[in-house]
Amino acid sequence: MGAGGCKFCQFSSGRSRNTNSFDGPSSSQHNISTGRGSILSDGRIDRYVPGVFGSTFCKVNKKTVDRLILQVLGIIGHLVESAPDTPEALQKLNEIADKEEGWIQMIHSMVNIIPLDNPLGPVVITVLLDDCPLPNKDTIVKLSRIFSLSRYGSVKKKKSVCQQRNVCIILGMLAEKLAGPSSVALLTPGTLAYLVSNLEENVEPILTLFSLVALEKFAQTSENKLSIKRYLETEPVNPILKLERFVGSQDYVEAQVGFCAQWCLDNLFVVEGRKLSYESIDLTNINAMLNSRDASEYLKISPDGLEARCDAYLFESVRCTFPIQTGIWYYEITVLSCGVMQIGWATKKSKFLSHEGYGIGDDGFSVAYDGCRQQVWHNAHIEMQPNGPPWKPGCVLGCLLDLQTPKAVFYLNGNEVATHTNVFKFAKTGFFAAASFMAFQHCRFNFGRNPFKYPPKNIPFQSFNAVGVLNAEERVILPRHLKLEKLRRMSVKEDSCTLCFDFKATVTLKPCNHSGFCENCSVQLLSCPVCRASISSMAVDNPPEITR
């Protein structure tokens, strides 16, 4: 959600970092190529499955759009540190998709040619949809007609699992971007029946997963949420309840389905008579977990605090509860998906800028390994590019932090892949285990509650779980609706700072004499917020009293 939240979006459509003035979009508008004979030299165009939707869009050249999308797919993993210019293929697609028929062709092409096995496939869909102008309601109605989804219709027979997965990703993304009347228009009775039918037992788990995520995104519009709830109630047994049994499954896709089902039941489609997971979860012997109070807004954390997943189109981050001041420490994660995740270490100074696409490894105070692109990230730069195969579901990443040497070491399935030291120029202590996730990424953390799979040999490390202590409140990961309710009941004191309302207002700015600010805010000011006068000094009334 949001403009440019995806880790890669900042590179598209002339959106560049560090710019105050926009140059506006490309001046060469609608330069749609109609040239033929544009087949990729590496033959990837062969993946194209013709006529799945029976395309009637002749003005926009289908092959051109297919080729451009495959080009974007080919370069997207390398975009992160490359030139600030928009890649040509992306720019061209942007122009094509500015017109309705072009936009619809782009949807067609994405459905047909984004392969299931490329971990960056979903990224390409989200980048392209985020970057092109959004369709109006008429186009949405047209799209629903083209998809013509239904429970028992021909869709399931005619389209491959991969194509159907792509349809679900696109539906989910549009449902989120167009929350409101257009999202209602998109969720036709046929579409709803189709998505719910994918929650049944005989369906490929990958389709169940993305259908569940799409339903979750449709439910962001209240009217849709009601329709979905009503529809689920007409089923003999709520299919989401049945899917919950997959929590913790040994099959990595099923495990994701189980996690998402549980999350939906706790947060979104609450079922009467079912205990919320946080009330029934067994937290015995858990002394360190992911800190739900120190996580990006949309990150989903399991009720035991040891599993996290992102389904937002943002780069979502989280830190662990346990701070490290000194010594040698180790934890492991098991990846359930194989896309972009940056996992490692961060201090509290590391900022979670999920809407900018910055996470762990993207500032000086953090370092992270991403086994999808096989890169070590620090200070928003690729520090190392170790060899070897990219990670696959089930791979175990080991993270060792040695503050005595000091060094950070990453292991993949027990093999050392990288050693890093530069982060210690920024911070010597105060580290937390931390991770960032792109859309649809998911992993399990082991902070020592269970035996480690690949403990580093001959290194006297400690585990957070053996040393950590959590109080009763810290252990509870509240569902969102309860959390927001708690926030709404908070009140604000009369004499609080007019900027943050968190602390007492004690500061008067000089020479303009404007007041009503706390010390914490005042030190961040470059000029007076009221009159924009520059600040020569500040007068403080009393020592600040923390009201939080």
Binding site: G24, N136, R488, C521, R532
Partner: protein, 151 residues
């Protein structure tokens, strides 16, 4: 969820209790920093009769940095480009933490009343606005009818 600053809670409460005429800003059900915004086109402007959807996000360091706002509904306006990005000084270098969601949205509504083709973001629109204002206004009205009026 990171702890939500009281500033955001307070602003949200006020937006819901005392809404600004012609503007609705509703926080997302699952993200208190993300707002679904609808601005109605001001009277006597080419955008009259339209409801324009925007998204507004409060970044982590808000109010020290400006909210991120963008039009979701297509609009023909010299200071708004085709991806909905807005050229408005208070969203950039003229931001002040004393400004609020409310004041930002009022400024955007004012920008609809008073397009400024001399500081353009959408170059082709601005050009037409300068050389043939009546034609540009005609286009703006047409886009409003086409994209911003719900049937």
């Amino acid at each position: 969820m990171a702890a939500l600053p009281r500033r955001i809670i307070k602003e949200t409460q006020r937006l819901l209790q005392e809404p600004v005429p012609g503007i609705s800003a509703i926080p997302d059900e699952s993200n208190a920093r993300y707002f679904h915004v609808i601005v109605t086109g001001p009277e006597d402007s080419p955008f009259e009769g339209g409801s324009f959807k925007l998204e507004l996000f409060l970044p982590e360091d808000y109010p020290m940095s400006a909210p991120k706002v963008r039009f979701i509904t297509k609009i023909y306006h010299p200071n708004i480009d085709r991806l909905g990005r807005i050229c408005l000084d208070i969203l950039k270098d003229k931001w002040s933490p004393a400004l609020q969601i409310r004041t930002v949205l009022l400024s955007i509504q004012a920008l609809l009343s008073a397009p400024n083709p001399d500081d353009p973001l959408a170059n082709d629109v601005a050009e037409l606005w300068k050389v043939n204002e009546s034609e540009a206004i005609k286009n703006a009205k047409e886009w409003t009818r086409k994209y911003a009026v719900e049937n």
